[in-house]
């Protein structure tokens, strides 16, 4: 188990990465904030489950993805009754990318984000998702194929 000081240091080093992942999965900044806070707390609570320091990155990423998934599910069930505060309209490119990303199944989206956004290796992605490298490759291939179709379809007209 990591000692507290080292654990905190590792966690703070992961902040940018966690936020980027949160951005890729969640639209609302408040959801991202919740996800990051919950990830930090859960990681602290279950830090004894981390066997080796070198797995910290994939371990904290897995917690983060699970938290994003949880918040996303809650948001699906939630009925908003309050007035939604005005937000600046997103860039059309950003919106298009997000929509394309969200059109992908989660099992394809996760390796894509981790690889192209965070530079995770295939082995690291396999560790995060607890699957084999071959499956990671296959899913990324499927994701790229789907995005290519989507992308070409948008550009052709």
């Amino acid at each position: 188990m990591l000692e507290e000081r080292l654990f905190t240091q590792k966690l703070l080093e992961s902040e940018q990465m966690l936020h980027r992942i949160a951005c890729a999965f969640l639209r609302s900044e408040s959801d991202r904030q919740d996800a990051m806070q919950e990830t930090a707390l859960k990681a602290w609570l279950h830090r004894n489950r981390l066997r080796e320091e070198r797995f910290f990155k994939t371990w904290i990423t897995r917690i983060m993805i699970n938290e994003c998934r949880l918040i996303h599910r809650k948001a699906m069930r939630m009925i908003v009754t309050d007035t939604i505060p005005d937000q600046p309209a997103p860039d059309s490119n950003e919106l298009e990318t997000r929509l394309m990303l969200e059109s992908l199944p989660e099992k394809q989206r996760v390796p894509l984000i981790l690889h192209y956004l965070e530079g995770f290796s295939l082995e690291e992605i396999a560790q995060v998702q607890n699957i084999s490298v071959g499956i990671v490759k296959y899913r990324m291939h499927q994701a790229r194929k789907a995005l290519r179709v989507e992308w070409n379809g948008k550009e052709e007209p």
Binding site: L11, E15, M36, Y116
Partner: protein, 313 residues
């Protein structure tokens, strides 16, 4: 779409970490996070406590409503109904039935009967072989053969509580001139049975021919009916199932198994019997016994139940 294009597009989704998000993350990641964890545990505990309290209140309210409905609609509480259903009948326990018999009307159940050698007039004679036992002398309770006149003599063993021992002469004014009461020999198996046996010889019938001293025995025993009258259950020539038992506080006791007529007769002597001579001209002549006793009669119980009861008492 190249990989670089894809990477650029994904990077476009990311933003700089807002200050608020950064602060909250720092707070969660900093050494003070134990407090946050503790606060969360407390809040979770609080929620559980509230839920448990609400469940308890709901349960209590349900109970109250049920009780209210029971009281107002049916006139009695559900608890009372349950009690009425659940509590078994005390009399289903043979011990309680015996106790009730003994306690409810002790004067009736445990009468002191003065036995003057003649059974009460309410006595009845029960017999199984009515063909040979038609003559009934209600005064003595002794069954007499209907063809008694054809017999030159017969004898009757009076076994009044097995206490009388000696030669007796019984004279029936209507039937025969003389009875010869044979000496009674105490039989340990029946020494508590109040009863009698009749022996008679019939000189006119070859069947009984044995130097004219061929005796036919009719054994009867006394039991006591529910109305405190005496009954003679005749066990004509058959061994009946009777078991002498010892009951604390009682001098004599016998458990008589007569099929459906199973009963326990227990006798407590109030004074020692004395041998008296009845006056000539009375129905029962000769020496007999006079004694008082207290008796308990229990019907419908097994011997084990009776003994279990008295051993408890």
């Amino acid at each position: 779409m190249t990989e670089q294009e894809l990477r650029d597009r994904l990077n476009s989704l990311t933003e700089a970490i807002p200050d608020e998000t950064h602060r909250s993350f720092l707070m969660a990641a900093s050494p003070g996070k134990d407090e946050i964890v503790m606060k969360r545990k407390i809040s979770v505990g609080l929620i559980i406590a509230i839920l448990v309290s609400l469940a308890a209140i709901a349960f209590a309210a349900t109970e109250y409503v049920q009780k209210f409905i029971s009281v107002n609609w049916q006139g009695e509480t559900a608890a009372e109904q349950n009690a009425a259903i659940d509590v078994p009948d005390p009399l289903s326990n043979p011990m309680n039935r015996i106790r009730k018999i003994l306690n409810s009307a002790p004067d009736d159940v445990l009468p002191i009967i003065e036995w003057n050698g003649t059974p009460p007039r309410s006595s009845r004679v029960r017999h199984r072989k009515t063909d040979s036992l038609k003559g009934i002398d209600y005064n003595t309770g002794i069954v007499l053969p209907d063809n008694i006149a054809e017999k030159d003599s017969f004898s009757v063993d009076l076994t009044y509580g097995c206490l009388a021992e000696g030669e007796y002469t019984l004279i029936s004014e209507e039937k025969v001139d003389e009875f010869t009461l044979k000496q009674y020999t105490v039989d340990p198996a029946y020494d508590v049975v109040i009863g009698y046996s009749i022996q008679f010889k019939d000189k006119n019938r070859d069947l009984y021919h044995d130097d004219n001293q061929y005796w036919h025995t009719i054994r009867s025993e006394l039991s006591i009916s529910e109305d405190n009258s005496f009954q003679f259950a005749v066990i004509d020539g058959e061994e009946h199932s009777a078991q002498s038992v010892e009951i604390p506080g009682m001098d004599k006791a016998v458990f008589i198994n007569l099929g459906m007529n199973t009963r326990l007769i227990a006798i407590r002597m109030l004074n020692k019997p004395v041998v008296v001579k009845t006056k000539p001209g009375e129905q029962l002549l000769g020496e007999t016994t006079e004694f008082q006793y207290e008796r308990i009669q229990l019907e419908g119980f097994t011997l084990e139940e009776c003994m279990a009861f008295f051993s408890q008492e």
